[in-house]
């Protein structure tokens, strides 16, 4: 921690959260929302709370020309020192500069849930970050928030926190990256409040260290005509859970989230979404594509709630998984709860393996089997990556997916060798 004392309201928010988190404990598989993912079993409850990082700041190449913030173990170590566009504020949550905005939104975007790890984050986060885009301000340069985890001799826990407020008619792009080394537990919370007509593109990369545990709770509140377009690419961590709560509270709001994930070894990758259509005319679209190899396990739980007043809602969710190994596993549970009568809703959930006919066609043109598989997997994930409108980001995310696929093939080839 920084030693500066928090303002009263923040201190009390943290106290209340602390009491709730202590009383509730970590989620267990008896909680419906955590049926498939056992985070407590990994011992994260006993990890030490990370201290201020010592030593060199890790080097992470930026994804193009971005306005960058770097958090190490939840502590802000690098903030933009260049002048920001007019109408843009980037600040620490507790600095007081944006106290009004912070107070209005912090802890408000994600529904209160005593069991959730978001509460634990509220109790324990170190330096939170607030990003505020003023009314009518359109920021072209993307913001890039990098959370870097540094595990020491003992595994550590930290709780990155971020609040994004886009005021009436403003628009911005946020790149959120989670990287690291060693063994740690990152319990991140991002709250996004979009006012009338505001718009945010949000590109998140979860490429944590192989031994890390990553839990993220993202809340998105959308006022009238607000637009959120998210892309989530998960390749890292031994266990990861990305939980999204979206509330379309204003008329004609639009929420889109596309996800691509690649799991190998013993990885466990969970995406859980709650999309709440409150107001009429809203649209939500979710497309998740996963590739699971070895003994990896994927989870998609998606609940779409269409409330009585949310007529003319258009809601779709689709989860598709490719299993590359007989020991990989996918649990998909899309759910629609509809209380309005004039709506268009659909969901789908498929699990399959690589299209053998396509594989034969490629090989019949001289392409070796590993490359042919690689092409087909990339093609499968391309639909998601193509949603990324910032080219350096799309390329970087695609490159990491490509590398991981290569890695998996290389291991398999050497395994074949040993057996042969």
């Amino acid at each position: 921690m920084t030693g500066t004392s928090h303002p009263d309201w923040l201190a009390s928010l943290r106290r209340v959260a602390r009491a709730k988190a202590d009383a509730a404990g970590l989620p267990t598989r008896r909680d419906e929302a955590w049926k498939y993912t056992d985070v407590a079993a990994l011992g994260v409850g006993s990890f030490l709370l990370a201290e201020q990082p010592r030593g060199a700041v890790p080097e992470v190449a930026p994804l193009g020309d971005t306005i960058r913030l770097l958090l190490v173990n939840g502590n802000l170590v690098a903030a933009p020192d260049e002048p920001l566009p007019a109408g843009v504020v980037v600040d620490r949550l507790d600095s007081g500069f944006s106290a009004g905005v912070v107070q209005a939104h912090l802890g408000q975007v994600i529904p209160a849930d005593a069991k959730s790890l978001a509460t634990l984050n509220s109790a324990l986060f170190a330096d939170g970050v607030v990003l505020r885009i003023g009314a009518g301000v359109k920021v072209d340069r993307p913001f890039e928030i990098v959370s870097f985890g540094q595990g020491g001799d003992e595994p550590v826990a930290f709780h990155p926190r971020c609040l994004v407020v886009v005021e009436e008619g403003g628009s911005a792009t946020l790149i959120e990256r989670h990287l690291g080394s060693g063994s740690y537990f990152s319990n991140s919370v991002v709250e996004i409040a979009l006012a009338d007509g505001a718009s945010l593109h949000h590109y998140k990369q979860q490429d944590e260290a192989a031994h890390a545990v990553h839990v993220a709770t993202t809340g998105v509140s959308l006022a009238g005509g607000a637009r959120y377009a998210g892309v989530l690419v998960q390749t890292g961590a031994r266990l990861a859970r990305h939980e999204v709560h979206a509330a379309l509270g204003g008329q004609d709001a639009s929420f889109g989230l596309d996800g691509a994930y690649l799991g190998a070894g013993q990885q466990h990758l969970d995406t859980t979404t709650f999309v709440n259509h409150v107001a009429p005319g809203g649209a939500s679209r979710q497309v998740f594509k996963g590739v699971l190899d070895d003994q990896a396990r994927g989870v998609y739980q998606g609940t779409v709630l269409v409330q009585r007043g949310a007529q003319k809602t258009d809601a779709h969710q689709l989860s598709k998984a490719l299993l590359l190994s007989p020991h990989a596993e996918m649990d998909g549970k899309p759910e629609l709860e509809i209380y309005a009568d004039d709506v268009k809703c659909g969901h789908g959930c498929t699990v399959g393996d690589i299209d053998e006919t396509a594989l034969f066609y490629l090989r019949a043109r001289g392409i070796d089997e590993a490359t042919a598989r690689h092409l087909l997997i990339e093609a499968f994930l391309a639909e998601v990556l193509d949603q990324i409108e910032v080219e350096p980001v799309r390329q970087a995310f695609a490159a990491v997916l490509g590398e991981r696929l290569e890695g998996a093939h290389a291991t398999r080839r050497s395994d074949d060798h040993r057996q042969g």
């Binding site: 034969f360 066609y361 019949a364 043109r365 392409i367 490359t371 990339e378 093609a379």
Partner: protein, 249 residues
């Protein structure tokens, strides 16, 4: 170039090829005709190495090597090319990426240098133009949303790019309009040379006007039941296959 001896093959435990004998010397074109379901595509898949097509007896020798022992991609690299009766749609894989990967895989195996992006594009555009394949088709996903005729032209384009030495054209003519048939057939015919050979599977005489075969075989009930010269195709056009149907089973 290709020697098939007493080839038996089964799909899902059902015997489809029941003893095929067929020799295609270098420089020759052989047409294969025969009723629906007689095993023509099965023969082409067996030669290309498709999984699930189990060879239960017999042999196929290509340039003196055991073709059936080679992996699918190995056969292609050695110069065996199958133009599919039903080309496969592969959403998400762009034509340029697919074709370049294939061309370079084959070039590598021949000890030739790989083409870079510019060199490849230049070549692909030239060949595409010759075959009436639109440039925008190169940018689209492989076969995805192509019309029946477009798919067949695209097969011909792949052949032109990979420069195989043994081609199996499985009903490449069906689906092509009259003009496209001429363009594609003439391109295939121009490909003939003393080092190359091909099997042209077809139901219609018309393609054989452009690619005049050295021999015509009738495949019925999983066997070659008759072999003749190019006139056999004309005769079949008149008489149909009734005379062979009883004979085959």
């Amino acid at each position: 170039m290709l020697e098939i001896r007493n080839l038996h093959a089964s799909v899902d435990g059902r015997e489809i090829l029941k003893g095929i004998d067929l020799t295609v010397p270098a420089g020759e074109v052989h047409a294969v005709m025969g009723p629906n379901g007689s095993g023509k595509s099965t023969l082409s898949y067996v030669l290309a190495g498709r999984d699930g097509y189990e060879v239960t007896a017999g042999s196929a020798t290509y340039k003196g090597q055991d073709l059936l022992a080679m992996k699918i991609e190995e056969r292609a690299r050695q110069g065996v090319f199958l133009a599919f009766q039903y080309p496969v749609e592969i959403p998400g894989v762009t034509g340029v990426n697919f074709l370049k990967t294939a061309v370079n895989a084959v070039r590598r195996s021949r000890g030739e240098s790989e083409l870079d992006a510019m060199q490849f594009l230049k070549l692909a555009r030239k060949k595409a133009k010759e075959l009436g394949v639109g440039e925008e088709m190169l940018r689209r996903a492989v076969n995805t949303g192509f019309s029946g005729g477009e798919k067949k032209r695209y097969e011909a384009l792949q052949m032109a790019l990979l420069e195989p030495s043994f081609m199996i054209l499985d009903e490449t003519d069906s689906g092509l309009d009259i003009d496209a048939l001429r363009v594609v057939a003439e391109a295939v015919d121009a490909f003939r040379n003393p080092q190359r050979a091909m099997l042209v599977i077809t139901h219609y005489q018309r393609i054989l006007d452009y690619i005049v075969p050295d021999k015509v075989h009738v495949l019925a009930g999983g066997r070659i039941v008759q072999t003749g010269d190019k006139d056999l195709a004309l005769e079949l056009e008149r008489s149909g296959y009734a005379q062979f149907v009883g004979q085959a089973a």
